[in-house]
């Protein structure tokens, strides 16, 4: 619908369009030009989305003071004059339709309507309150930057831009959500990221038809390759350095407004197991930590099922003294090993979930209470054996070592599946379960990249940054799985050419 020339008419339509919402403010005023003419004008905006002080200082005052001396003839374009000579804002646009104006108002702009003109001037005055930049909550590091993304998308873009002063760093804005009209930004480095990847990301994002996007989690689940798998195939991070590193590796970052988590695609099992800190500490330390991390993730995955298999099916595989000691500690416990393990693992998950939900100070106590009850009382009451407590404690601690929270979810769910397999078939079942798991992981892809690369398909170059990380001097190329346009990060040494025999 086109704007009409009458201000009151326009105000009426916009109000109707926005259902006369209470936070919609209409400031009507009269412009007197050289004391001869009076033109009625209106500023329309949502309270809270814009800063009221800014409206007064940067819009009302200049207009009221400057336009007074407007000496052009009647039909001259007052709007253009205001836009070009009066207002100092960096972002000003002229809108012709009601819909455009309404959308502008909704994203935090101020619409200026002037009587006699069927265009509106929208002024970017976004000034809502947002959280200050804080340190990351779920991806802490000892060594490395401490800032994290926040809910405001423009700040998030700033955080990335500050790290990559590269003219090729590109941000593309898309609006998704037929009700939310949420901003989504695709970020990539134009001469690094593979075009096909960028196009695929863009295509998938454009196909998302959800009414509102409240967090990047919505987008992640809508555009991933294998949405039925317990494993996530898109990485999420709240660390700007991680996002910047991903961009440099040729991956695409997806920023979603109102979400402090930025998505990185493609993501493989390998990339999800790496922490930003691995690149900041020296390589021997990084390798040491990475090996421990991979071992620990395996421990977190199989320890309970291994315990069930050995205790229920293969006690001859436990060293004699330990077997006796386990048998002694299990004496009088009314449940088979599987039920025992299930009780303990489930209560661990309950304590963990409760700890997250409870407000901070009480969250501490739930840890102590849960630890006391599970660790001590359950044992002395004869519900579980002390060895089971060790097993559970080991899985819990080892599980926390996985740097990506979403991946640890996948492994936690799989753990129960393996426990079930072990309780049916012992070590044979555990092996079967692991094979099924491996098979499943091998079928996963993330934007066409195999989830298990660089191991399957095997790519020797990418192995330099997997379980082991080569020193920076040796990491001269970008990873191969992203198929980047520019493949080198450091100049490669020139190979000595063989002298050609003439």
């Amino acid at each position: 619908m086109k704007l009409s020339k009458r201000v009151h008419h326009n105000i009426q339509t916009i109000k109707e369009e926005l259902n006369d919402s209470t936070d919609l403010k209409v400031r009507e005023f009269n412009l007197s030009i050289q004391g001869i003419r009076e033109i009625s004008c209106a500023l329309i905006f949502f309270e809270g989305l814009i800063s009221g002080q800014m409206v007064t200082e940067a819009v009302m005052q200049p207009i009221l003071h400057e336009v007074r001396d407007f000496d052009q003839p009647m039909d001259a374009n007052l709007i253009t004059f205001i836009k070009e000579s009066v207002l100092t804002n960096s972002e000003l646009t002229e809108k012709n339709t009601i819909d455009d104006v309404v959308l502008s108002i909704m994203i935090g702009e101020v619409a200026l309507l002037v009587d006699g003109f069927n265009t509106a001037l929208t002024i970017d005055m976004k000034g809502w309150l947002h959280r200050a930049i804080d340190s990351p909550q779920s991806e802490g590091v000892i060594r490395g930057p401490r800032d994290s993304f926040i809910e405001a998308i423009n700040r998030n873009m700033m955080l990335i831009r500050r790290r990559l002063r590269d003219p090729n760093l590109t941000f593309e804005r898309i609006q998704v959500g037929n009700r939310g009209q949420n901003d989504i930004v695709i970020a990539y480095i134009k001469d690094v990221a593979n075009d096909e990847l960028v196009n695929e990301v863009r295509k998938r994002l454009e196909n998302v038809d959800l009414d509102v996007i409240l967090d990047s989690g919505y987008i992640e689940q809508m555009i991933e390759d294998d949405w039925w798998s317990p494993f996530n195939t898109i990485q999420d991070t709240e660390r700007p350095d991680e996002a910047a590193a991903g961009l440099v590796e040729g991956r695409v970052a997806i920023l979603v407004d109102n979400s402090p988590f930025v998505l990185l695609a493609p993501a493989t099992f390998n990339t999800l197991m790496l922490s930003a800190e691995d690149y900041y500490v020296r390589w021997p330390a990084a390798n040491f930590v990475r090996i421990i991390r991979f071992v620990a993730s395996f421990v977190a995955l199989v320890t309970p099922s291994l315990y069930i298999a050995l205790v229920s099916f293969h006690p001859e595989m436990i060293p004699t003294k330990l077997a006796l000691s386990i048998a002694a500690s299990r004496e009088g416990i009314p449940f088979p090993a599987f039920i025992e393990a299930l009780i303990m693992e489930l209560s661990l998950e309950i304590v963990r979930e409760a700890g997250i939900r409870l407000p901070g100070p009480i969250g501490q106590t739930i840890g102590i209470v849960g630890g006391l009850i599970i660790g001590d009382a359950a044992v002395s009451a004869g519900i579980v054996s002390p060895f089971m407590v060790i097993v559970v404690a080991m899985t819990a601690i080892a599980g926390f070592i996985i740097p990506t929270y979403t991946l640890s979810f996948g492994l936690r769910i799989t753990r129960f599946f393996l426990m079930l397999a072990a309780s049916f078939l012992g070590l044979y079942g555990l092996t079967l379960g692991m094979l099924i798991l491996l098979g499943h992981l091998a079928t996963l892809t993330s934007f066409g990249v195999s989830y298990l690369s660089p191991w399957a398909p095997f790519s020797p170059w990418d192995l330099r940054d997997s379980v082991m990380r080569s020193p920076w001097h040796k990491l001269k190329r970008r990873p191969g799985y992203t198929h980047t346009k520019d493949q080198t990060r450091q100049p490669l040494k020139k190979r000595r050419r063989r002298k050609r025999s003439s």
């Binding site: 205790v311 229920s312 099916f313 006690p315 001859e316 436990i318 004699t320 003294k321 077997a323 006796l324 000691s325 386990i326 048998a327 002694a328 500690s329 299990r330 004496e331 009088g332 416990i333 088979p336 090993a337 002390p386 309780s423 049916f424 078939l425 012992g426 044979y428 079942g429």
Partner: protein, 381 residues
Amino acid sequence: MIHKRFRLVILTLTLALLMTGCWDAKDVDQRSFVMGIAFDLAETEDRYVMTIELPVLSGFASQSSGEGPKSVMFSTVGTSVAQMATHFESRTWRELFFGHTQAIIISGDAARKSIRPFLDFFDRNPRIDRRLTLFISQGEAQEIFKTKDPREDLVSVYLNQMLNTLTNTARVVKMNFQDSLRNLESNGDTILPRVRSSGTEAVIAGGALIKDYKLIAWLGENETRAAAFLYNNVSGGLIVVNVDDNLYAYAMRSASSETKAKLKDNQLIFEIEVKSEGDIIEVYYEEAQGPSAFDIAKIEDKLNQLIANEILHLVTKLQDLKTDPIGFDRLVFRSYPKFWKEHAKDWKDKIFPQAKFEIKTTFRVRRTGIVEKEVVYERQR
């Protein structure tokens, strides 16, 4: 059609899961760990007494008071091992579990009749830990379980660990169940470690010579040492030699032996080569003034003679008894398959007793300790 086939696949997979799984699931605390088994002759003929040593589980819990017995013995009489094992199961609600059995002891008297009836049950059982040890006891076998060593709660565990330690002293042959069975199944002969009860202690020393599954003779400690050299399972041990009226204690740090079979003019010759390196760890002087210098070459010669004689003594004894527990027959089979084919039947009775042995021993003294002494080393060529 595809749908039907798919259903069939699912059904087969489910069956495969249910048929293979679960049937042997039994938690550790539902099993009776049979730590040791002893076999004796019963008073009535053709019957045996089987005694098992079971741990008292509460004694192994972490919060245990440390008081009370840590193990119990059960005995029963029967004709076959399986039958006697079933007797036990009717007396305890737990299933007997042989996966952690450490020792099987057969009394000398029973072994003189034959050890064969005791072995088949264990040979067939896939869950037996084949690293357990088969002992022959001098005296009643179940008496061994009545000995109590304060350092170890279970006699069977004690026996098995003791045997491993004793390997370093070359006083026993280290034979686990698997080795013993292999020897026995190839020609019915073997040497098993001997154990006896001194009332309060179980003593492992010497060996029991088995011929055709029957105990025919005991071997003394020196004979056992020679046998250990032939089996090539000596890893240490002390040899004391007398040189010029001084006693030298030689501790082996490594030892190995190799046996080769040679056939010359239808005469079998076994070339046995023993090599060892070690240290002099003590010198005992009769007189106030000891020797001013070590004559290492002399010590080495004496060691070579001593061990060569011991080995020769043992093989002569084996030849006299017409038994081949070391497995020279396998060596002949490998080296001269044709000859073996012709003479396999009368190997123990004719061929082996007439074989010749050439024994070469090379003992080397590497260190003499940190006491400063002049070391003389002249090897006469």
